[in-house]
C-alpha cells in the first residue's frame, strides 16, 4: 500500500442523537484508487461516505468522534472551511439529482457559484471537457440548452458526475450511484469510474457486490456500523479472513 493514503478515517464514530451509527472505523482510501464500501442496508455505508465531505453537518442532532484526515490534515473541527472541502471532495448521490436548469447550466453551476466561470469561452470549454470526461458529450452536445430533466436516468447520473468533475475535485464520492439506474446505464457508469481513477481518488458505496468486485481496488465491509474487514478487493472476494465476510459476499445473508 502507498505510504500516505489520500483519505484516512481514524477511530471514526458517528452518532444520530444517542444512536451510534459508526463504531471506531479505521479505513484508508488510497490516491487514484477505487475504494468500495459494502455491507447490508443500514450498516452505515452512506453515513460513512457522507462524513468524508461533511454532508452530515446538515443533519440536525448528529455528532462525530474520532478523526478524518485528507492529505494528512484533519477535516473535522470548526476551523475547517467546509465549502472549500466540498470543492475538493465531490459527491454523486444515490438518486440522480440534476437541477431544473439546462444541461449546460447544470455543469456550469459549480463553476459559477465558486467564481471559477471566467469568460464565456472558458466556461464552455470546461463544460465540454467535463461532459466528455463523464462520457456524455456525444449524446448531449446538440441539446445543451435543453432541460436536464429531459435526459434518461442514466444520462442524468452522468450529468451529475460531469457537474462534480467541473469544479476539479481531487476525490469523488459515489453514494450508491447505480441503485436507481438500469443495467446498461450501470455498465456505462462502471466504465466511467474505471477511467476516472487515473485522475481522481474514488470512494464508492454500493450494495451490489459484483459492482464492488468489478470496479474497486480496495473493499471495506461494514456491518452494523463496524468494520468487519478491509483489504484489497481480490483478497476480500477470494480469500476473506472473516467468516462473516465470506457469508455476506456469497449471498448467505444481506
Amino acid at each position: 500500500m502507498d505510504p500516505r493514503p489520500k483519505i484516512e478515517a481514524r477511530n471514526l464514530n458517528f452518532f444520530y442523537g444517542a444512536k451510534r451509527a459508526l463504531k471506531d472505523l479505521n479505513i484508508a482510501c488510497h490516491e487514484r484508487k477505487v475504494t468500495a464500501i459494502i455491507g447490508p442496508s443500514g450498516c452505515g455505508k452512506s453515513t460513512f461516505i457522507r462524513t468524508l465531505n461533511r454532508m452530515n453537518d446538515v443533519v440536525a442532532g448528529t455528532r462525530v468522534k474520532g478523526d478524518i484526515l485528507v492529505d494528512g490534515t484533519s477535516i473535522l473541527g470548526p476551523k475547517v472551511d467546509v465549502v472549500e472541502l466540498r470543492k475538493r471532495i465531490g459527491m454523486v448521490f444515490q438518486k440522480p439529482n440534476p437541477f431544473p436548469k439546462s444541461i449546460f447550466d447544470n455543469v456550469a453551476y459549480g463553476l459559477r457559484i465558486n467564481g471559477m466561470a471566467g469568460s464565456r469561452e472558458h466556461l464552455e470549454e470546461v463544460v465540454e471537457k467535463s461532459l466528455r470526461e463523464a462520457a456524455l458529450w456525444e449524446e448531449v452536445k446538440d441539446r445543451l440548452k435543453e432541460n436536464a430533466f429531459s435526459l434518461s436516468g442514466g444520462q442524468q447520473q452522468r450529468l451529475c458526475i460531469a457537474r462534480a468533475l467541473a469544479v476539479e475535485p481531487e476525490v469523488i464520492l459515489f453514494d450508491e450511484p447505480c441503485s436507481a439506474i438500469d443495467p446498461i446505464a450501470t455498465a456505462k457508469i462502471e466504465d466511467l469510474i474505471e477511467r476516472l481513477k487515473s485522475t481522481y481518488t474514488v470512494v464508492i458505496v454500493t450494495h451490489n457486490m459484483q459492482q464492488a468486485a468489478r470496479v474497486s481496488d480496495y473493499t471495506a465491509f461494514l456491518m452494523m456500523g463496524e468494520l468487519v474487514e478491509f483489504g484489497d478487493t481480490r483478497t476480500i472476494f477470494t480469500a476473506p479472513s472473516q467468516k462473516l465476510t465470506e457469508d455476506y459476499i456469497t449471498g448467505r445473508f444481506g
Binding site: 466540498r86 465531490g90 439529482n97 437541477f99 436548469k101 439546462s102 432541460n147
Partner: protein, 290 residues
C-alpha cells in the same frame, strides 16, 4: 350472497359519491349565488363616472374613485410590510432554524395568529401604530395593521412552497461547494418563488377586503380630497360599503351604489386571486422551459 354483497358495496359507493358531489355543489352554489346577486344588482351602477368620480350629495350620487384609490394604496403598503417580512421569516424558519421546541412554538404561534379575529388586529394597530409610533389615523397605520394580519398567511404559504423544493437540490448545491446561502438563493428560492408569490397575493387579497382593522386605524367616512401622503386618512372600498349598507341615513337610496361598490370590491379581490394563479402558471412554465 355474493351478488347481494356487491350490490351493497355499489350502493354505499353511490351514496358516498353523491354526498361528496352534494357537498362540493353546495359550496359552489353559495359562491354562484353571491356573485349572481351582487352582479345582477350592481352591474347597472358600474359606469365610467362611478369608477372615476368621488361620491356626491351624501353618497347618494357620484362614484367611488377615492375608495378604489385608497384600497389600492393601503394594499400596497400592506405588501411592502408583509412580502419581505413574510418571505424572510419563511426562509429562516424552513432553511435555517433548528427543529426544536422553540421553533415549534414559533410555528404554532404563527398558525394561531392567523386565527385571531381581525378586529383584534385593528385595536392592536390603534395602540401600536396610531398611538405609540404616532403615525396617527392614517393610511400608513392601516396598511401596517393589515400587514400584520397578512403575515401569518404569507409566512405559512411561503414555508409550504419552500418545503416543496426537494432536498436533493440543496444537498446537490452544497456538495459542489456552495455556501448555504448560495444554495438557497440559486437552487431553492427560484423554484419556491411561484408558490410563495401565490400565497402572498392570496393573503393580500384577503387584506384588501378587510374592514375591521382599518376602521380605527385610518379609514375615513368621507374625504373631500385623496390622501396626499401616507400620514393622511383614506377611503376604502370595504369600509365605504359598510357605511352605505348600515350607517347611511338613507339606506334605501344608496342601495344600488352599495351593490356597485360590492361588485367592484369582489372584482378587485377575485382579480388579484386570478392574477396570482396566472403568475404561478407562467413562472412554472418558464421554469420547465427556460
Amino acid at each position: 350472497m355474493k351478488r347481494r354483497l356487491s350490490f351493497r358495496k355499489a350502493a354505499v359507493q353511490a351514496f358516498g359519491f353523491f354526498g361528496l358531489r352534494a357537498a362540493t355543489g353546495l359550496v359552489l352554489a353559495v359562491l354562484v349565488l353571491i356573485l349572481f346577486d351582487i352582479g345582477s344588482k350592481g352591474a347597472g351602477t358600474i359606469t365610467w363616472e362611478f369608477l372615476s368620480q368621488p361620491p356626491r350629495r351624501g353618497m347618494t350620487e357620484g362614484g367611488i374613485f377615492p375608495a378604489i384609490y385608497g384600497t389600492l394604496l393601503v394594499t400596497l403598503i400592506t405588501a411592502v410590510l408583509a412580502v419581505p417580512l413574510g418571505m424572510g421569516a419563511a426562509v429562516y424558519l424552513n432553511e435555517y432554524a433548528r427543529k426544536n421546541r422553540l421553533t415549534r412554538l414559533i410555528r404554532l404561534s404563527i398558525r394561531n395568529l392567523s386565527g385571531v379575529p381581525s378586529i383584534v388586529y385593528g385595536l392592536f394597530g390603534v395602540i401600536l401604530f396610531v398611538n405609540i409610533f404616532k403615525f396617527g389615523t392614517s393610511v400608513l397605520s392601516a396598511g401596517l395593521t393589515l400587514g400584520l394580519l397578512t403575515l401569518p398567511w404569507t409566512i405559512t404559504a411561503s414555508e409550504e412552497a419552500l418545503k416543496q423544493v426537494p432536498n436533493a437540490y440543496r444537498e446537490g448545491a452544497l456538495a459542489l461547494g456552495a455556501t448555504k446561502w448560495q444554495s438557497i438563493r440559486t437552487n431553492v428560492l427560484p423554484y419556491a418563488l411561484p408558490g410563495m408569490l401565490t400565497g402572498t397575493v392570496l393573503g393580500l387579497a384577503r387584506a384588501a377586503g378587510e374592514t375591521a382593522p382599518i376602521m380605527f386605524t385610518g379609514a375615513a367616512f368621507s374625504l373631500p380630497i385623496l390622501p396626499q401622503s401616507v400620514k393622511d386618512q383614506f377611503m376604502a372600498l370595504p369600509y365605504h360599503l359598510y357605511i352605505m349598507a348600515t350607517q347611511h341615513h338613507d339606506i334605501g337610496k344608496v342601495r344600488p351604489l352599495a351593490y356597485g361598490t360590492a361588485l367592484v370590491l369582489i372584482a378587485l379581490v377575485l382579480g388579484m386571486n386570478l392574477g396570482a394563479v396566472i403568475l404561478r402558471y407562467r413562472l412554472r412554465r418558464r421554469q420547465r422551459r427556460f
